[in-house]
Symmetry: C4
Subunit: 201 residues, 4 copies
């Protein structure tokens, strides 16, 4: 790749690093789980496979095309194995500039039940809305990317967050902050729903 | 606005920033939820709409009148949509200098039940007292501001904390520290009440 | 007080500040709850009343006699209202150099049940041992100090930790680290006991 | 010991310190619980007994032989009492370069039940696999080291994590990061399993 994309998209590079660390510190992901990407013109920048989000550096980011193919990477680095469904989201939703896939515990627990998330708070009703559940699919598979596309298209352009059953969550946004705040709000909303149901059982 | 209110009220500006970040770090709020304000003479200073409490800066604070109207703001910034009920609290309670509205999970879960919070600990009996529940109201609506006023007036001058049903909590204080510590104590007390009931079920 | 006790006991002053902040950061106390003291020769140094443990400074420490009377304090500062039972512990247990009283949530929830803590792990059996429950008493009262004394004397010199019913925990140690680590271990042990019982219910 | 092993193995020394602190900050261990070691050629470097993982320094690390005998230590320091089973793991698994023994709460609660951990998420299926349960044994005993050896050998070379019943977890890895990330993933997986079972009860 001739052009220096890490400089051209320095703001996105910095934001991926900042929000990746925030997601780890907030407990929304652990180990090497999760991946975050940004749309940069005709490209996608995404975190590398096997990088812990607490420790993303510019060298751990990969430039990809909108069909999900890697275009430039530091030696030995490959893009997240979930690049396929990130790319699918960007193609299906032109308004989306950021995609985050995280593994927060209460959202996963809620998603395992398969029932719709009740919107128990004003914040959930105002800023989250209905949260579709994307069915199970092998990580990195074409089938999973297609399941994501189907869910995203069906949900329409107002939907900001999805459960990925037995896997985690998917959030989209026009900015890094929007996308990340949706993740925090979804996890809090799932925790409230889980505790409320336990409490009333 | 001619006078430089961010300098005149530098202490309050600094305290709003500090306690906003503390509330986020302590898990009492997430995303762009919550808002904090201070009474400054005949004015109110309040956090902007859509600002995450982890990242408040002086530019993200708005000067308002005691009727809740914005008087001065950085370009593009508007006051929290809940400025109406903050202002209502300051008018109803001359002793109150600080108001915090946060979204802590266990307090929300308790509030969903609608029953009175049992004061299970010495700290809750000594420093918290009875915690009224403010009924549901559309965020930013006149009806919600009126419901807050009614509850605050009815509760009397010794009440420091309120549940806002399906929404969060409201705490008031004579200092930033008093107001913030009440939020921490209420969330711990709600967590103890939720766990105690689960435990004994 | 003629002698400069903050210099003479600089190590204890520094340790109280460090472990007070650690207790807050670890979630073992919130708001202005809790108090920590150290035996310094014929004296006790204890945190002031109404100081949040996250923000203890040398000026927020009070020199007291072993009968619990304040001997020296910065202007306007008074010792924790629980100085009485700290002093009672030092008189009853000559081996004790540190006393911590904290309000961790799972320990409080366990203590509310009034049954003995099961020692479910090797760490609890090895480093904690039996944890007596001190009955309820008004904070700051002579009755509470006497109840603490009775429990501490009855438990004997090997006991490191106590539940204070409807109030929190009490830990003692020969060093600041010993005393603080006992608090962390007790809270983890109480959390395991609460979850295990919920899980098996 | 003539050679300066803290310099020769500076990278491992630094990694033990870093991941020990990370384990504490993440809540995977508390007080003086837990111990971490690295294989360094024909030697093992392990954390000292009674050191809190939040505060490991080079002086708190001990050089041991592969049979678990201490070879070099700062004055007054002794190796973790669990050095025996760390050494047993290194002898049984030549591929293992790192061993971590931690005390995370949900893993302990799951282990108390004695039933197999369900692999409810893609991450657990992909990166964790089956998690054997090592039976109870007195800390520091030869019996416990033998029980660990038996479980590790029986589980085979693909197994990365074990429950230690009534004690904690054991994770192994080719790098410090692999070993540590397995600990984080196991605790999240155990938390999901505990909550899912409570939720469906």
């Amino acid at each position: 790749m001739e052009f220096n994309w890490r400089d051209t998209y320095a703001r996105q590079v910095q934001d991926i690093i900042e929000y990746s660390e925030a997601a780890y510190q907030r407990g929304l992901v652990s180990g090497t789980g999760g991946n975050i990407s940004a749309r940069c013109g005709e490209y996608i920048i995404i975190t590398a496979t096997n990088v812990p989000l607490r420790r993303v550096t510019p060298e751990k980011l990969i430039l990809c095309s909108l069909d999900g193919s890697p275009l430039d990477a530091a030696p030995g680095e490959r893009p997240s194995k979930e690049t396929g469904f990130h790319a699918a989201v960007y193609r299906a939703r032109p308004d989306v500039k950021w995609v985050a896939h995280l593994h927060p515990v209460y959202s996963i627990v809620w998603g395992l039940q398969g029932s719709e998330l009740p919107l128990l708070t004003e914040s959930a009703r105002l800023k989250l809305g209905q949260v579709p559940i994307i069915p199970v699919g092998t990580p990195g598979s074409k089938e999973l990317a297609e399941a994501v596309t189907t869910s995203v298209v069906k949900a329409g352009p107002k939907t900001r967050a999805f459960f990925m059953r037995e896997h985690g969550i998917l959030a989209v946004g026009a900015t890094a902050a929007d996308c990340y705040h949706t993740c925090e709000l979804l996890e809090d909303s799932a925790k409230i729903a889980v505790l409320d149901r336990l409490f009333k059982a």
